[in-house]
């Protein structure tokens, strides 16, 4: 399962990535936020660890999506 998280700030993305790495997701990586998900030109994080709302996102996390084929399914929103 792959996920993608979008953020309000670049700092939020970096912090999220660090948390993912600390949790053992060595494949987690920064990428430009997909056009469909964000109107900012900010960064996103793609990861494969099962999403856990209690340990992963913080106030700077905007949304988290599960990637299924070419679709993004929202699993978390902080709007």
């Amino acid at each position: 399962m792959h996920y993608i998280a979008t953020f309000y700030t670049h700092f939020g993305a970096l912090s999220f990535l660090k948390r993912l790495r600390d949790l053992g997701d060595s494949e987690a990586a920064m990428m430009p936020a997909p056009r469909r998900l964000s109107v900012s030109c900010g960064s996103a994080v793609r990861f494969s660890l099962d999403f856990d709302e209690t340990t992963m996102p913080d106030d700077d996390t905007e949304s988290v999506y599960r990637i299924e084929k070419d679709e993004y399914i929202e699993v978390f929103s902080n709007r």
């Binding site: 939020g12 912090s15 030109c41």
Partner: protein, 368 residues
């Protein structure tokens, strides 16, 4: 999906490159078919925020750009009023980005259009722009953040986009409330209908593609991702070919339209623009597009850009084009001003202070 994103960015770049030369052939100033900084400066002059008589004209390109982004974001339901991310700091960053741009004589868009017309001073400016972006990425890597945005009343997000309507009407009827340059770059313009139509289309394309000139280099440096960068390449490629066909390409440091050849200040001016754009999260063009989508912080930044333009002309910070001894490349006047040179250094120092002040030393390893 990624391929579609790249196509959207390239199409927007093609439109910008085309408009940049086409609008020049229709009356806009030399190598200034489209320039966000210059056109905001001209609009500031038309609103009498500064009194430089040669740069006063409400540029319909700015109106179309913001309004096109506004319309398409309403249609696609992406319009969302949001703000509250260090607005005053953003205002001053926008203010300083404009000062850097007016010392160089152009925003990143005009820099690329000048490069495509053979202006070697703009290629020198590119070094500064990329250098500034690189410094900005160092701050981002260390945890720089102006803070998150929050939902706002939709009216707040729509204020600046909707204000473009009365501004356009005033322009269309040549309202005596506005100032209109009778000579100089401000007096040179394409038909308002051509300009508004083209800029509306480009505003729509820019909103859909998320094109960002600073973002292109930032993502290349930080993420090794090219997709926004292709926008810059498309602007350059299309404008270059169009200039060659139009016979408006002259490879030289000298006698370039609305340009000066003081390379140190061309570089440093664009360092300010590049660094400021990364700290703001987008170049001046991107700030206009985000304003159209309801981003109040970008609206504040645009107001900062306008205030910076007015200040730059009221206090003699803006550069002027080189003046030459007749028939030679000997520069006899124009270029940067002492006030402009001091302002660029001060802006750089303030931006570094902002960069340090908003950098959180430790990335949050635990959920806050």
């Amino acid at each position: 999906m990624k391929k579609k994103n790249i196509i959207a960015v390239v199409v927007t770049g093609v439109l910008l490159g085309f408009a940049g030369v086409f609008l020049m052939t229709k009356g806009n100033p030399g190598n200034m078919g489209f320039c966000i900084a210059c056109f905001l400066r001209d609009t500031a002059g038309a609103l009498k925020l500064h009194t430089a008589p040669v740069v006063q004209y409400v540029r319909p390109e700015i109106i179309g750009f913001i309004f096109g982004s506004f319309l398409i974001s309403l249609i696609t339901r992406e319009f969302r009023a949001r703000g509250g991310s260090s607005p005053l700091t953003r205002f001053f960053l926008g203010f300083m980005v404009m000062i850097g741009a007016l010392v160089f004589l152009g925003c990143p868009l005009r820099m690329v259009l000048r490069m495509a017309a053979g202006d070697l001073n703009a290629w020198i400016g590119l070094v500064g722009f990329v250098g500034g972006i690189f410094i900005g990425t160092l701050f981002l890597r260390k945890g720089f953040s102006l803070g998150r945005t929050y939902e706002k009343n939709p009216l707040e997000g729509a204020l600046i986009p909707v204000l473009q309507i009365p501004l356009f009407i005033m322009l269309a009827v040549s309202s005596p409330l506005l100032a209109f340059s009778e000579k100089g770059p401000g007096s040179m313009h394409a038909s308002i209908w051509i300009s508004i139509a083209l800029s509306l289309v480009i505003g729509i394309a820019a909103q859909r593609s998320r094109i960002c000139q600073a973002g292109g280099f930032r993502d290349l440096i930080m993420l090794k991702d090219f997709h926004l960068f292709w926008g810059n390449a498309a602007i350059l490629g299309v404008a270059l070919v169009y200039n060659l066909i139009n016979k408006s390409f002259t490879l030289s440091l000298y006698h370039q339209p609305v340009a000066h050849s003081q390379w140190v200040w061309n570089i440093l001016g664009m360092v300010v623009v590049g660094l400021g754009s990364v700290l703001l999260g987008g170049c001046p063009m991107r700030q206009l597009v985000l304003t159209g989508t309801g981003n109040v912080d970008s609206g504040i930044t645009v107001l900062g850009l306008i205030a910076g333009a007015a200040f730059a002309h009221n206090f003699g910070l803006a550069s002027g084009p080189d003046a030459y001894e007749e028939g030679t490349n000997v520069v006899t006047g124009g270029g940067t001003t002492p006030n402009g040179r001091i302002a660029v250094i001060v802006c750089l120092v303030i931006m570094l202070v902002i960069g340090i002040a908003y950098t959180k030393k430790n990335l949050k390893s635990k959920k806050a």
